[in-house]
Structure formats: structure tokens, C-alpha cells
């Protein structure tokens, strides 16, 4: 079953099939647990979707292997004033249907990504509108300054205006509508791959975009000309498909099977660090424990108790036992690779049970207390909650892990209905400190700041530092501000960081891919030999 295709695309596909140039191309059969929810680049901001759209649609600015921002569909940019960014667009870029890429497409895509049903408004944080200057120049007008706009914009992808108008896909999917939009099942980007076939939950076939500008610009590092994306929900079946040779690549092998895959002939495992941090956090707001028993007091308001918890957690044991080696213990809320990470602020309190017990006694809890630790039922959060419960019981804190489905967990902690919780935070979106600090550590307000500060920690100096980061443009000064913020977190411990997870990818020995910090495969960098 083929999705309906427009005539130009049909022709393009047919043409592609006839070309001898690509006859030597390779096919990559790629399996993942979840199917992309949609093909629309402005609809669902979810990993399964962006893994596909990132190969089909392109941003104005993108990242290199060091994760630094580089020109992509825009070749250069200037900032005439605080409220304006001016982008010069690349010449000779073509959409999959053969039409040229111009400023109109950028203006249209900005409007589309800022429309109410878009879930990628964050990719244009602070932007009010886009204005066409000439065919290849666009200005973004800012509602408020955003010094890290370029980082955000790496997730803002361009769609063809003419195509969207032709097929009535002017806005991203509205989930209360009766019909789905054309762009949910069809795609027309400028990217290295175009969608040839799309069957939800069955397979999606991508073929190389022959007129991709990247071929001439030397961006093509791979030799794959066709990619078959196969969603396989069951862990056992997904691995069986890899072992039997029916797929070449599995992006999400279950951690417990990685050792076996490593030993399997013909297969290899490649790992990399995602820009994500796993942590536990305390309710430091209430005067009494909501879930637990501590004699009418909230022990987590005492810094010594928070220090005791940090001393009691053995991150090395979590690494080797829970994560089977697939983690990097971390003492900072930012991982290496995020702008602003400071090595001297990445220090954990050492694992020391005696010291933890002493601190608890000093704080007035010589016999410990009882508390419930909340976690979502996703791995590794659930296993970490179990492990932390055991480790804290060794110093006298009786912890009851409360593991609930992910779809119940977020509504729960969002209402601050927790005393103690496990969470992970991904900074890959911007790879900049501001995003993380603002969401996790700013005092809760109604403007979206402190949205993930479920423990409602509030520190005037931290708020001040975040405000400075919102306007400061000089990178060295930004890094210094960030360092101070990280040291402040390390001293006051509103959260205790555990580790950065390492992500294994499993593949046949003849496949080589580049591990990106957002756990996504870029097919133009994949080789099959």
C-alpha cells in the first residue's frame, strides 16, 4: 500500500529509480521501538518523530560533530540590533518536489511553527515574526531577546510554502479536528532523504534526495541511498530481527541484552552519551512531609539531610549494577557537551555512609525518618528508585519507592504532589545552560520559569544569575555566570544528580554511524560496507 503521491514526487521517484548513478547505493534497514507519530516537522516534538523529520526537513542552522552551531540552509547571519536577526539563505537549495527554496518558505515556516497547534514554538523562543527582505534574505523580529536563539533554531525545520498551500497543510495537526493534515502522512523538505512510502506502524521508506545541496557542499558522508524504518514494539522480536539479519540497525536495544549482542558474531554495539542527566530532587517547600513520617517536620528543608542523602547514594554501584556500565556518574546538572558545563563544578559528595549517618544525627534524625520516593515506570528511573531506596535505608532513611505509569507520573509531580522524586532532563534541544537552569532551578512563577522545579526550591541569587543569562551575549561571561550557578546548586543541593546515561546502538559489523548527543541517526552520515 502506497500513500498517495503528488505527480511531481511520483516523477521524481520514478526518475530516481532510473538513474544509474545511484545503482551502487546501499539499503539500511533500521528498527526502533516506536514509529514516528507524524511526518509533520512542526507537530509532535517527540524523539521518535524528530528522528525521522531531522532526515527529511532541514533547519537554517545545524550542528557539527562537536555539536557546535554551523550554517546550514542559512549561510550567514548578523544581529543588526537586539530585536533583529538577519539570515542570508543558501542558494540553489531544492525541495524534494524540485521547487527552489526561498525566503517565502522561511517566513511561512516561522508562521507555521508559531501557530497555536504547533508544538515546536520552543524552537523559535522569543521570535515574534519573520520578514522577507529579498528572495534569499530573511529577518526574524524578536518579541524578547534570546541570546541562544541559534541553538533553539537547530530544531526549527523548513517546509515548502507552495506545497503546504497546494495540499491544505498550512497548520500543524489539530487533534480536535475531524481529519488529519496532508503533512502528517506526506513530506516535502530539503533534506538528504525523501519519504517514498509511509505505512504507520508497518514501515517507512526513505530514498536519497538526488538534488540535495549537501552533495555539492561536501556534506554527504555516507553511502546509503535507501532507508527502511521498521517499528518493532516487542524488545525480544526487535533483537530477534537483528540476530536473524532481517534488520541492520537497532537504535534502542534493551540494556540487559547489550552484553549478549556484543558477543554475537557479525554484530557490534556503539555507545555515546546523550545530553541528559538523571537526578533526584526534594520537596523543600512544605513544612511537613506530604508522603512520609518525620515527626511533623520536613527534613529535606535541612541542608544536612540533603547532604546525607547525597553521601548515601553510591553512583558507582548504580552504574555497574543498575545501568550495567551504561552511565557516567555526574555531579553537575549539566553534562559535558552542554554550553556552560564546568569541570570544577562537576563534583559529587563522596559515597560515605558514616558521614551520612552523622549528618542525619546532627540534623535531629539519629533514627532516620520515612519518606516516599516517586518515579515513573520507565527505565532506568524505576530501577534507580529501587536502588536509592536500599542505599538510603542503609543510613536509616526508610524509603518507599512509588513507581507509577509515566502518563500518571507527570500529572502527579506537576501538581507538586510529591516529597521526593526521580526525574531525568534532556538538554539536547538547545545544548545551552540557560534552558536547563531556567526550567529546573528558577523560582516557580507563572511565566514558565521553574516549570520543572517540582521541589519549589527558591534562591534569589540563582534567579538573578538566570536573568543575567537571558540577556548576556558574551560567551565567556555567560560561562562564568553558569559556573557560579552550578557551584551554587552543588552547595545547596536542591537536587542530587546521579549520572548521564550512555546510549547503546546495536548494528551489523558492516554499518557505521555517528552517535549524536540527541540519540538520533543522521542517515547521510551512515555507511554500509
Amino acid at each position: 500500500m502506497l500513500p498517495p503521491m503528488s505527480l511531481p514526487r511520483l516523477l521524481a521517484v520514478a526518475l530516481l529509480a532510473c538513474l544509474p548513478v545511484l545503482a551502487a547505493g546501499k539499503t539500511l534497514r533500521y528498527a526502533s521501538q516506536d514509529d514516528p507519530q507524524t511526518l509533520d516537522p512542526h507537530s509532535a516534538n517527540l524523539l521518535a518523530t524528530s528522528r525521522l523529520t531531522a532526515n527529511v526537513y532541514e533547519p537554517l542552522v545545524w550542528r557539527d560533530r562537536e555539536w557546535k552551531v554551523i550554517p546550514w540552509l542559512a549561510t550567514s547571519w548578523t544581529q543588526p540590533n537586539d530585536r533583529t536577526w538577519r539570515f542570508r539563505l543558501r542558494e540553489g537549495v531544492k525541495f524534494h518536489d524540485g521547487s527552489p527554496f526561498t525566503a517565502d518558505d522561511v517566513v511561512f515556516s516561522v508562521e507555521r511553527a508559531l501557530s497555536p497547534t504547533s508544538q515546536l514554538k520552543v524552537a523559535l523562543q522569543g521570535v515574534e515574526k519573520a520578514v522577507k527582505v529579498d528572495a534569499l534574505t530573511v529577518e526574524l523580529v524578536m518579541r524578547e531577546p534570546n541570546p541562544v536563539l541559534l541553538s533553539h533554531m537547530t530544531n526549527f525545520r523548513i517546509m515548502s510554502k507552495a506545497w503546504a498551500e497546494k495540499f491544505g497543510a498550512l497548520r500543524p495537526q489539530d487533534y480536535t479536528a475531524k481529519e488529519d493534515t496532508y503533512a502528517a502522512r506526506n513530506a516535502n523538505g530539503t533534506g538528504a532523504f525523501m519519504v517514498k512510502e509511509r505505512q504507520t506502524d508497518v514501515r517507512t521508506v526513505l530514498v536519497a534526495h538526488r538534488d540535495w545541496w549537501g552533495h555539492k557542499a561536501g556534506k554527504n558522508e555516507g553511502n546509503v541511498t535507501e532507508v527502511v524504518l521498521l517499528p518493532i514494539k516487542s524488545n525480544a522480536t526487535r533483537l530477534a530481527a537483528l540476530l536473524s539479519g532481517e534488520v541492520d540497525f537497532v537504535i534502542d536495544p534493551p540494556t540487559q541484552d547489550v552484553a549478549r549482542l556484543r558477543a554475537a558474531p557479525g554484530l557490534k554495539v556503539q555507545e555515546g552519551g546523550e545530553l541528559r542527566v538523571q537526578y533526584i530532587a526534594f520537596d523543600v517547600f512544605r513544612d511537613d512531609l506530604l508522603y512520609g513520617k518525620a515527626g511533623g517536620k520536613n527534613p529535606f528543608k535541612d541542608i544536612r539531610v540533603r547532604q546525607a542523602v547525597a553521601h548515601a547514594i553510591d553512583t558507582e554501584a548504580i552504574r555497574s549494577k543498575v545501568m550495567r556500565g551504561y552511565s557516567r556518574p555526574l555531579g553537575s546538572i549539566l553534562t559535558p557537551g552542554v554550553q556552560g558545563y564546568a569541570a570544577d563544578a562537576d563534583k559529587r559528595l563522596p559515597h560515605d555512609r558514616e558521614r551520612a549517618k552523622r549528618l542525619l544525627a546532627e540534623a535531629g534524625y539519629p533514627d532516620g525518618f520515612e519518606v516516599t520516593l516517586d518515579a515513573g515506570n520507565v527505565q532506568p528511573a524505576a530501577d534507580i528508585a529501587q536502588a536509592v531506596a536500599v542505599m538510603l535505608s542503609q543510613v536509616g532513611i526508610k524509603v518507599r519507592p512509588n513507581i507509577v505509569p509515566q502518563s500518571n507520573y507527570f500529572p502527579k509531580i506537576e501538581k507538586y504532589d510529591t516529597s521526593f522524586y526521580v526525574l531525568s532532563w534532556g538538554a539536547g534541544v538547545t545544548a545551552d545552560a540557560l534552558y536547563t537552569l531556567q526550567a529546573l532551578l528558577h523560582t516557580v512563577n507563572k511565566k514558565g520559569e521553574g516549570d520543572f522545579n517540582m521541589g519549589r526550591w527558591s534562591n534569589a541569587r540563582m534567579d538573578e544569575l538566570i536573568q543575567q543569562l537571558q540577556v548576556e551575549k558574551d560567551q565567556a561571561k555567560r560561562d562564568a555566570i553558569t559556573r557560579e550557578a552550578l557551584l551554587l546548586v552543588g552547595r545547596d543541593l536542591p537536587i542530587v544528580t546521579i549520572h548521564q546515561p550512555l546510549i547503546p546502538w546495536a548494528m551489523k559489523k558492516n554499518v557505521s554511524a555517528w552517535f549524536s548527543p540527541v540519540n538520533t541517526v543522521y542517515f547521510y552520515k551512515v555507511r554500509v560496507d
Binding site: Y175, D180, P231, S407
Partner: protein, 328 residues
């Protein structure tokens, strides 16, 4: 007769309404789809806006009323996971599930009945004992384990059959079929065995016990006394009389096969309605779950209606009875 059918249809509508209502009252517990539709890093304002947009902030009976009034107009809403109309998704997935169920049921009948006859006739042969022992596996092993074993043996070790998916399909008038391609047929083998094994052993054991029962009756002894051949006695007289309960059970089991193909479909990534449903549950995709449960309710209502009507035709006593009593 027509009054009977109309009454049963009316009852069917009530059944589906009740199914829908109970389903909606349970959806409160599957959690909040918004927390899965948005990235973990989404702001609270975004989440709240989406919840209000979808009407999830309203109490469940209001959500149910909205769903029911839309469903009556043929609008089952948009899947929250895939952003596509639920009715389109169900129509797309129905062929996969029905083909799988059909093959599994056929397999169960074609293998189950002869095995049941054989084990019934040759009660003490060693082969019968082997069949009965092996059939215990079919009854007692959970489906997902059987599926994984089959994948391990035939896909990973031997490499003969595919471990997942439906192979290539061909569109025949809006119906995607796997019967017309080699890879489609190959892909059917393992899932249909997995799905049909339980029914197969059930039918085999049912036929066997019915055969044992019937073979003791007077009319079998009389048939033998008449000097009929073994074949005529065993198949013409004995088997035919065992088939009435077998047909009843098979009819009801067909509903069960369609409704509970969920596990088999998940293990084999079979793109049917069951897989759609299980993914909907994990995503708290309320429109898909509601429509699927109502559809399954409908299938059971129809099957029960057909079975009841079959009784009506097959058993003359029932007709006289209801005629005298004025319906029941």
C-alpha cells in the same frame, strides 16, 4: 423472528453504550495522554493548553457524551498518538487482524478435528498419548512465550521465516491482503500457529471427549450391528453428532481470536487492530481505545446474534417452544 432480531440489535446498542461508558470511566486511570504527546521538557502552560483543547480537563461522563454523540455521526476523532482519524486507522488494520484470525481458526479446525477423531478412536495408542501430552503445552503455555520460541527457532536459528511484520501486501479493492505474495504467506505462518495453537488443542480435546461420549451411545452400537463400515460409523454417524458443540465453540472462539490477537500481534509486530490497541493503551490514546472497545463489543454482539439465530434454525424444539411461549 424479525422482532427477535430487532430486540437483539437494541440490546446490542445498549451493550456497546455500556462498554463505552465503562471504558471512559476507566480512562481516568490510564493517565494523561498529554504527558506523552508533549516532550518531557514541555512547559506546564503548554500541557494545560493542550489538555483544555482536547477536553481532557472535563469529567469523564462529559467526555463520554461528546464521544458518543460524535460516534453516532460517524466521527471517532483523531488518534492522539498518530494524529490520524481513528476510523481510517481501524479500517486499515482490520484486514490484517481478520486474515490472521481466519488462518488461525482454519488451522485449528483442519488440524484439531482429525487429531480429536484419531485420539478419540485410538484411545490407548502411544501416538494418542503423545498428541495429548503435546496439546497440554498448547493449553498451558502463554501465547507470547510460544511466539518467542517460534521466532527463536524458525527465524533466528533456522532463518526460514520472518520474525516480524506482514511481508508484502497487495491492495484488492481497499482490502490489503497478504495472501497473494510469497512473503505475505510466509509471514502468516508463525503468527497463525501462535494464535491458533490454543484453539487447536481446545478443539482437539473437545472432539475427543465428544467422540468418546458418542461412541458409547446406542445408535453407534446399532450402526455397527447393521454391518456398516468403520469409516461410515466413525465419520458419518459419530463425528457428525460431535460437531454441534464444536461449531458453537468455534463460533465463540472466533470472536475471542479477533479480540485477543493483541498479544500475538505485539510479539510479531503484526499491523492489526490488536497492536494498534496495545500501543493506544501505552500512549493513553483515548479515541483509539474507545473506538476499538466498541468495535470489539460490536463483533461479539454480532457473533452472539448469529449463533442464537443458528440455534433457532438448527434446533426445531426451540422454534416450537418460542412459538408456544410467545418469545423468550
Amino acid at each position: 423472528m424479525i422482532a427477535f432480531v430487532i430486540r437483539r440489535m437494541a440490546q446490542g446498542v445498549i451493550v456497546m453504550l455500556v462498554v463505552g461508558f465503562i471504558a471512559f470511566s476507566l480512562f481516568n486511570f490510564v493517565g494523561d495522554p498529554v504527558s506523552l504527546m508533549l516532550p518531557p521538557e514541555a512547559t506546564q502552560a503548554d500541557r494545560q493548553a493542550m489538555r483544555e483543547n482536547l477536553g481532557l480537563d472535563k469529567p469523564f461522563y462529559v467526555q463520554f457524551a461528546t464521544f458518543a454523540s460524535n460516534a453516532v455521526q460517524g466521527n471517532f476523532g483523531i488518534s492522539l498518538r498518530l494524529g490520524r482519524p481513528v476510523s481510517t486507522l481501524l479500517v486499515e488494520r482490520l484486514p490484517a487482524t481478520l486474515e490472521l484470525a481466519f488462518v488461525a481458526a482454519t488451522l485449528a479446525l483442519v488440524v484439531g478435528i482429525p487429531l480429536g477423531v484419531y485420539t478419540g478412536l485410538n484411545r490407548n495408542s502411544w501416538l494418542s498419548r503423545v498428541f495429548l501430552t503435546v496439546s497440554l503445552i498448547g493449553v498451558s503455555l502463554p501465547t507470547f512465550l510460544i511466539g518467542i520460541f517460534l521466532i527463536l527457532i524458525f527465524a533466528v536459528w533456522l532463518g526460514w521465516l520472518p520474525s516480524f511484520g506482514r511481508g508484502d501486501t497487495v491492495m484488492v479493492g481497499g482490502w490489503s491482503t497478504g495472501f497473494l505474495t510469497g512473503s505475505g504467506l510466509k509471514a502468516l505462518i508463525l503468527p497463525s500457529i501462535t494464535l491458533g495453537l490454543f484453539q487447536l488443542t481446545l478443539i482437539m480435546r473437545l472432539v475427543r471427549s465428544e467422540m468418546l461420549e458418542v461412541l458409547r451411545t446406542d445408535y453407534i452400537k446399532f450402526a455397527r450391528a447393521r454391518g456398516l463400515t468403520n469409516r461410515a460409523v466413525n465419520f458419518g454417524h459419530a463425528l457428525r453428532n460431535t460437531l454441534v458443540p464444536v461449531i458453537t465453540i468455534t463460533g465463540l472462539q472466533l470472536g475471542a481470536i479477533i479480540a485477543f490477537a493483541i498479544i500475538t500481534e505485539t510479539v510479531f509486530q503484526w499491523p492489526g487492530m490488536g497492536l494498534l490497541f496495545i500501543q493506544a493503551v501505552q500512549f493513553a490514546d483515548i479515541p483509539v481505545m474507545a473506538a476499538y472497545l466498541c468495535l470489539i463489543g460490536f463483533i461479539f454482539v454480532v457473533i452472539n446474534l448469529v449463533v442464537d439465530m443458528l440455534y433457532y434454525f438448527v434446533d426445531p424444539r426451540l422454534r416450537i417452544d418460542t412459538g408456544a411461549a410467545g418469545g423468550h
